[in-house]
Symmetry: C2
Subunit: 193 residues, 2 copies
DNA sequence: GACAATCTAGGTCAATTGTCCTAGAGCGGT
DNA sequence: ACCGCTCTAGGACAATTGACCTAGATTGTC
């Protein structure tokens, strides 16, 4: 190579490629050869930046945590119900990818949980991020009593839509369920303004 | 071996073990060595009964189709709403396994769809089985107009509950969502008897 | 009891896996 | 120009993978 990249850039490149591949193919199904092909970096180079494949997974989870935190932060404006709506609309914004690969968080959690992987709890933390945030929105909506249950309900329906979208690849279904979920949401406010 | 099993028994033993392992670990993550350990049969023996690993997968899908068809047939008694309730209650009956490995159909469909596996459409057929059956129940319930959409809605919520159950392993959540889904179901009948 | 068909065990094969090692290229400071 | 540190490439490693092969054990039929 003529020009050497800074270590941080290379590391970021690896994590970015791994993030995408872990989503599209799954963690176990993604090999170092795959990441090597995508990044153009040699396999041996990975072991300067990471000791094991599991360490790359940790970095990917951390990257997603940062990314999703920023996403949530960008939703701060507007009423609580509008913020929840933005979460629901991820299903439309990322529709193409979801129909092809499912939900990046849900699929990862199930895969890691199933294999009893050490990083499984960390991946659940990704869900926890949205769960806590949704709970706070429902609290702000005046539903402090069952805020967490409502948050789980929204997560549940998002996951269900993502799974069936990846299975049947039906755009109308996604649109319909997003509308239905929004209708449900509108009925959750205990008082009208 | 002292006693030779009939070919059908051996084949069935392989498919049964593969069915369980494909569920618990996933298709790709399950090796011939794993199936060999569980069944006590030699690796080489598999290739007398199946040409490839994909052929075992086809047999597993076929086995599940037969199994789920029988399950559905056993629900024939009672009112349409009661039958749909039995479907919903799978989440409680198989709660332990679902909390450990997710839904056997949903996880398989997503894995095969993601990898672009040739057997992906066949696995979607497993969903189709329940989808069609649920649609017929909603038609019998007097909801011919949107019967399929209602069927997909029930499937969607089941998948969502299964995914979050496998993620958070929260029994109360499952119980709560099953109750909620039944409440929703009770509100779907256009006329009371 | 002998024979042919059916079934099984175990070995071998090339390919791929995650991991490790080392030579050396690129870089910043002197 | 030199040196030491950071970074990279490419090969080697043992282990595991799905697939294939073949000798022989078991079985049913005559």
């Amino acid at each position: 190579m003529e020009f050497q990249m800074s270590a941080a850039d290379t590391r970021g490149q690896i994590v970015e490629a791994a993030d995408r591949l872990f989503y599209e193919r799954g963690f176990e199904a993604t090999s170092f050869g795959d990441i090597s092909s995508v990044t153009g970096l040699s396999r041996g180079n990975f072991y300067y930046h990471f000791k094991t494949k599991d360490e790359i997974l940790e970095a990917v989870i951390e990257r997603r945590l940062v990314d999703r935190s920023a996403m949530i932060r960008a939703w701060e404006g507007g009423q609580p119900a509008d913020r929840i709506s933005r979460f629901i609309e991820i299903l439309l914004v990322n529709q193409t990818k979801i129909m092809a690969y499912g939900c990046p968080i849900g699929t990862l959690c199930v895969e890691l949980s199933r294999l009893g992987h050490a990083a499984a709890p960390a991946s659940v933390g990704l869900f926890g991020l949205f769960r806590d945030w949704l709970r706070r929105q429902f609290e702000a909506l005046g539903r402090s009593e069952d805020a967490d249950a409502l948050a789980m309900h929204v997560l549940m329906r998002s996951q269900g839509v993502a799974t069936l979208a990846a299975t049947f690849k039906d755009e109308d279904f996604v649109r319909r369920e997003v509308d239905d979920l929004k209708t449900w949401l509108a009925a959750q406010a205990p008082v009208a303004p």
